[in-house]
Amino acid sequence: MIFGLPVISVAIWLPIIFGILVLATGDDKNASLARLLALVGSLLGFAVTLPLYTGFNTTTSAMQFVELHDWIARFNIHYHLGVDGISMLFVLLNSFFTVIVVIAGWRVIEKRVSQYMAAFLVMSGIVNGVFAALDSILFYVFWEAMLIPMFIIIGVWGGPNRIYATMKFFLYTLLGSLLMLVALIYLYNLTGGSFSILDFQKVAIPMNAQILIFIAFFFAFAVKVPMFPVHTWLPDAHVEAPTGGSVILAAIMLKVGAYGFLRFSMPITPDASHKLAGIMIALSLIAIIYIGLVALMQSDMKKLVAYSSISHMGFVTLGLFIFNAYGMEGALLQMLSHGFVAGALFLCIGVLYDRMHSRKIADYGGVVNKMPVFAAFFMLFAMANSGLPGTSAFVGEFMVLMGTIRVNFWYAFAAATTLIFGAAYTLWMYKRVIFGAVTNSHVGELTDINAREILILALLTIFVLGMGVYPLPFGEILHASVNDLLVHVAQSKLPL
């Protein structure tokens, strides 16, 4: 409780209220007020999530900070919120990144500042709702609502081809979520009139129904992850999105898909999950290898990092569907780490884009001569993207690989190729952009990053290195919930 208010509700509604306030500042005459309000809102939004961490009980797998109120009594729908070890860290991650994107957009966004800032604040609250909702309809509302701010962010502040990208993004994800709604209603009937996710997890379901439910959920979540072959919206969306949009897309939105598998698919349909695990593993391995290869020849930096994201998310889904503790904790740690690393990489590309207005690798070369401080940060994040030990990215990849080899040596063999491909596409890009002599006069005029940009990148550096060197605190939060989930997934839910 903060000032007598429930923590999670504050974490959801405070950013949204601030978003509305920011919007109320009106047009760009009041831009500086809008920026200031947005910064205060995002900082407060992050501050109010901290009690979730400090007050978290790591010994239990039960939901914590639970809030339960009637919402639509007619259909037994509740305003039901709570977090466990799986979701809590993502609420913090999300609120943290809201601060980052507000600072990142500080000077860069000059048109419709209030709307831009408001969109991110509203988004932040909605995403917290996704991670904390325990009622499936509440979840669904947040889930769909999440699309709207992102749709606007890409559609208004995006690049030249933004309309195609937003439509693709919107239709892809909408199609997936409609199937999920069908599954939710079916489960409502099955439980005898409850929309509670926790009730869904207890109810016995016959195999063919489980498989259909699994498939319905699969489309909703796989699109968001995104898994091969429903991934093609992501590179387009990233390329067209403004820097802040890309950061939130990579750091936060991709995580809700994997979170959906953890919260819905696996505990509600454990038998189907086991039965279809082979397909999930195959799709994950394709994502790791195929997408890793595709990333190699991208000529657009953002597209390259977008493909790299898909490849890294392949590790997440692989870790989930091998059903052991290494894999699942590795997957969750990989989700967190990918937030920091991919977010940081998009910010780095944003730094370059703000100066050169190009994302083409070929337009760069020799940036280090003009921006040595920036090059050092970029190097660190590039190495993290290659999974170097000592950075956060290593923790998840290492654990998933260790878990995978328990299941099948050859799965691990295929997944471990990321050591080579990941380094190849990331460092090759780095080489062409940063190293070498100054290639053209535009690069020659570059100025190194300013204090604001250093602040953002330094904050992310702390997390990337801190989590890489000492992941234990993160792991401890996941521990109880992951173990409990593994026990549940191991038990059949077929009716006797």
């Binding site: 693709k168 239709l171 892809y172 072959p229 093609t232 590179p235 195929y290 290869l293 595709v294 990333a295 190699l296 020849m297 991208q298 052991n324 503790a325 290494y326 904790e329 590795g330 020799g366 280090v368 001569n369 190097m379 190495m383 170097l388 030990p389 000592g390 923790v395 290492f398 654990m399 690989l401 260790m402 995978t404 080899i405 328990r406 099948n408 040596f409 050859w410 691990a412 063999f413 471990a416 190729t417 050591l419 080579i420 380094a423 190849a424 460092l427 090759w428 080489k431 940063i434 190293f435 070498g436 002599a437 000492y470 992941p471 234990l472 792991g475 401890e476 521990h479």
Partner: protein, 670 residues
Amino acid sequence: MNIQNYYLIVPFAPLLGAIIAGLFGRALGRRTTHRIVIALVGLSLFSAIRIFQDVMAGHLFNGPVYTWLNSGDTSFQVGFLIDRLTATMMLVVTSVSLMVHIYTIGYMEEDEGYQRFFSYISLFTFSMLMLVMSNNFMQLFFGWEAVGLVSYLLIGFWYTRPTAIYANLKAFLVNRVGDFGFLLGIGLVLKVFGTLDYAAVFANVANHANDIAPIPGMSVNLLTAICILLFIGAMGKSAQFPLHVWLPDSMEGPTPISALIHAATMVTAGIFMVARMSPVFELSDAALSFVMVIGAITALFMGFLGIIQNDIKRVIAYSTLSQLGYMTVALGASAYPVAIFHLMTHAFFKALLFLAAGSVIIGMHHDQDIRNMGGLRKYMPITWITSLIGSLALIGTPFFSGFYSKDSIIEAVGRSHLAGSGFAYFSVVACVFITAFYSFRMYFLVFHGKERFGGHHDHQEDHADEEVAADHHHGLAPGQKPHESPWVVTLPLVLLAIPSVVIGYIAIGPMLFGGYFKDAIYIAQNHEVMRELQEEFHGSFAMAVHAFSSLPLWLAVAGVVISGYFYLMRPDIPAALQKRFHGIYVLLDNKYYFDRFNDWFFAGGARMLSRFLGDAGDKFLIDGLVVNGSAGLVGRFSGVVRRFQTGYIYHYAFTMIVGVFVLLSIRNWF
């Protein structure tokens, strides 16, 4: 002070130095930065000596520093294992590192990246120490990759040179291929033993000696599989055939790091790792054979390449590859102490040779082509004498350090009975001649004979790289003479020359035959090489005397004499041979076409596959056919449906009636 505090000081003092130099180097200025960094590395060396004394007094340590992560029932820890193997490595690493730090003051004097360079080499020292001090596989892998990172940064130190940034990317990726195997090996260890702690794995390893590896579709012995996978990592890091390709190119980095990283320490990480894993390797003869054959191939074939190099650093680089092959062969013969012994002597004399080469390069104003040198002994006396000492040690002159370690390797391989030991023995013996030949070819061309510098640089076009960064490759102007380097450069040469001469004589008895490594190295009962060597060893002096009646010494003498004859007296002979055996020369000049093949097959193939998958998969199949195709389909369908929206009531009524009729009939049928 508690000895455990020293354990922490050894790696973390250099790390602190790296952080200070990296973050505040510019603010502190050059002089303050190098003073702080060198003081911290000196502190690290001092602590390493204290620990060494403590370990020799019998105080071992194996314990955690902190818990990295708990998952399932497994606890991953960061911890130290301090035994005699570790203590020896710590001494080698910190002492060579200190020499290189001091040398850097002189070598990098004019470089803009002065503080950055200090930051990197201190970071390297930290990483290497974490690697050797680890008590578990996870931390080993951390150190393993971290030294790879610093190597990458240092090879590409002069980042405006296209060759440097090509070489560092290549080095990193080739190493990653090795690490790919290494990580899978670690995975198998964790799967089978349930822990990554060395002690726990080694205690349990005998129980799994006859297990089949859990690799579907293959029936390989478990330990053989683990050892070979781990050794693939060593092949990357220690540049063994066929993953050796990165090391010659790594010479693009500044010379101090060629000495520190690419000769003395990092490249020996693989040798150290196998010695550390001796309890596992000892239980798999197949893996040992594999190790020995790979080492023998590397020793022999990389030695050949040394003969035709004209870049002073590349000659030494191929010599390093060849010597690493020697160490690997010793590992395969179960002569782990001999491998570590050679690692140590090699660290000193090869660091000496590289630093001396660096001194020559300074004297020659960054001209590295030995064809442009000659007669330097007059101008650079200290560099000359120390180079001679280093070369004599390298070719195995009796009483010099290299003699004791190399001769022991040859003797050990001769006594091995594993498959492949015959070939390995032939390789290491033949390579004695080759080593002597290319070492003294370089020595004679650089320090003796006619003075060829100051003229037109006819040979420059051979090395396309040299014209690019003019500031580092300008060479001597006509009439200009080379001069001896400042004391910060020559002092490390002298300090390294001392152990290059004496350390073999002093250390061979206690280190190889005094039970020096105790439990740090395990040798199975049926591998009797070390015991046989011990029986024949009657003191350092006797061993050197005995060498005069053995083949290798006379091969070495032949190598020196022939190279002297060829390059000092009859330079027309090698030129004629080069013409006569043109085919072989071209093969060697192209380094057996490995680079070409890798560029064409792996790099080119990956790019082609990437382009194909991107175009055919993502753009054509998924986006073209499925996504945009289905959008088009919906569009066409809606075009048809739109015709029903006529606005006439009777059309709608008719449709409704048809609909009701259809629905009713479906209901009746089921």
